[in-house]
């Protein structure tokens, strides 16, 4: 079972923005995402919205390059005005192709192979 090194991007964001965020993540190459309901506090305190206090936690497994681009996009478009926290960590997956755009199913072995070789 060959394993591949990928990145896990976790973004906690006020719910009202989730749809727009997911659109942006897909544009950058996310092939999937998982969302869970969350609540929290940060530098902006409790959150705004119809039911105050609500955040959502979005996580995306993707490759290092796209993960980088996602953080950059967040820093440009979301951090200045909105309540967002984000972090990246290293993860290992079995089917790398599933998490890289344009290769669902096949597996772009050269690229992901290089990563898993780190």
């Amino acid at each position: 079972m060959s394993q591949h090194a990928m990145k896990l991007v976790v973004i906690v964001i006020e719910s009202v923005l989730t749809d727009s965020l997911i659109g942006d993540l897909k544009r950058l190459g996310a092939t999937g995402y998982t969302v869970t309901e969350a609540r929290g506090e940060g530098s902006r305190g409790r959150r705004v919205g119809e039911i105050p206090g609500d955040n959502q936690r979005v996580e995306v497994v993707t490759d290092a390059e796209i993960a980088e681009a996602m953080l950059q996009m967040l820093a440009d478009q979301y951090f200045p005005n909105y309540a967002v926290a984000a972090w990246i960590s290293d993860v290992v997956v079995v089917r790398a192709g599933k998490y890289v755009p344009g290769s669902v199913g096949q597996g772009i072995s050269s690229r992901s192979g290089a990563q898993s070789g780190r």
Binding site: V16, L17, S20, G49, I51, P52, D54
Partner: protein, 319 residues
């Protein structure tokens, strides 16, 4: 007038709100489950629409035309007057002024229901088509305020997107959809579902308002942050808009009950439809301002004091 006020203060709605506030101030852990709160709001809006639709099926076009026209007029006046006052007297930023104006230009359905409950308990019989006016007043104010904002603050979002969001927002679909369903099914369909949608209405509202009290009280510490101007705005602006509403309603031929309800709509500030719209389209506006003003100042003011005042004005007008 004092008598009316006292009766109103001892109504289930006002008492439930006060209980919610008290629970929060005592730092109780009491909260309605999130899904219950959302469910109650869906139920209340849909019930409002259905009932309104059934009654609309009995009304003729001529009777509604003039009230509908003044309602739309109020939808233009209230966001602009709010913006002007906030920007020029209050010296708020463009974004903050527009965002708060979006709230006061739209309408609070719960205030509407509170007004309906109040006038009915006063023996008035408001027009059956009032929920139709409610839906007319829901969105124009938000659009106008956001448009003013967009002129002044660079926005990355298209007008079409915003328009779509507001017109398809939960509130809109439930109210307008409810009106249509109610209109089409008529009295017979209504009989079978009214034990659920009418019988349970007041009680469900009481529970909903309990939670609103808790949420409003959470913002009480923010009252200091919003400053004296906004505090005054949250009380005086509704009185002005309410008075205009009561007068225009009476001139348009609405009954005392109907005029009071129109006044309450004009005076009320949205806290369901407007906040997400403001958050998305005017991200630099401070949510503390608009949420605290509409939810922790204007809503309780209207429910406890404003509505009886508008009623008194409407009576004076038609007396």
């Amino acid at each position: 007038m004092l008598d009316i006020l006292k009766t109103n203060l001892l109504s289930p709605i006002v008492l439930a709100f006060a209980l919610g506030v008290a629970a929060r101030l005592m730092r109780s852990e009491l909260r309605l489950p999130k899904d219950l709160y959302a469910s109650l709001s869906i139920y209340l809006l849909f019930a409002l629409g259905l009932k309104g639709g059934v009654e609309l099926s009995h009304a003729s076009f001529e009777v509604i035309a003039l009230p509908a026209a003044v309602t739309l007029l109020l939808g233009v006046i209230t966001p602009i007057s709010s913006y002007m006052v906030l920007r020029h007297l209050g010296r708020f930023t463009y974004a903050d002024s527009a965002a708060i104006a979006a709230h006061y230009g739209s309408v609070s359905a719960v205030t509407f229901i509170a007004a309906q409950t109040f006038v009915t308990s006063m023996g008035e019989v408001p027009e059956g088509f009032m929920p139709t006016l409610l839906t007319l007043l829901e969105s124009p104010g938000i659009h106008i305020a956001l448009a003013i904002g967009a002129l002044k603050v660079r926005s990355q979002r298209s007008t079409g997107q915003t328009l779509h969001e507001i017109l398809t927002a939960r509130t809109m679909i439930l109210l307008v959809g409810g009106l249509l369903v109610g209109f089409l099914m008529g009295g017979e369909g209504w009989t079978s579902i009214s034990p659920f949608f009418e019988g349970g209405f007041k009680g469900a509202l009481t529970l909903f308002i309990l939670e609103m009290g808790i949420v409003a009280a959470e913002r009480i510490t923010d009252l200091r942050k919003v400053g004296a101007f906004l505090l005054g705005f949250g009380i005086v602006m509704p009185l002005v808009h309410g008075a205009i509403g009561a007068v225009l309603g009476s001139l348009a031929g609405l009954s005392v009950g109907g005029s009071t309800m129109l006044a309450a709509m004009a005076a009320s500030a949205s806290y369901i439809a407007a906040p997400p719209a403001a958050r998305l389209n005017l991200p630099t506006a401070n949510p503390t301002y608009y949420l605290t003003a509409s939810l922790a100042i204007t809503f309780p003011f209207n429910v406890a004091v404003g509505i009886p005042v508008y009623y008194w004005i409407a009576k004076l007008m038609q007396g």
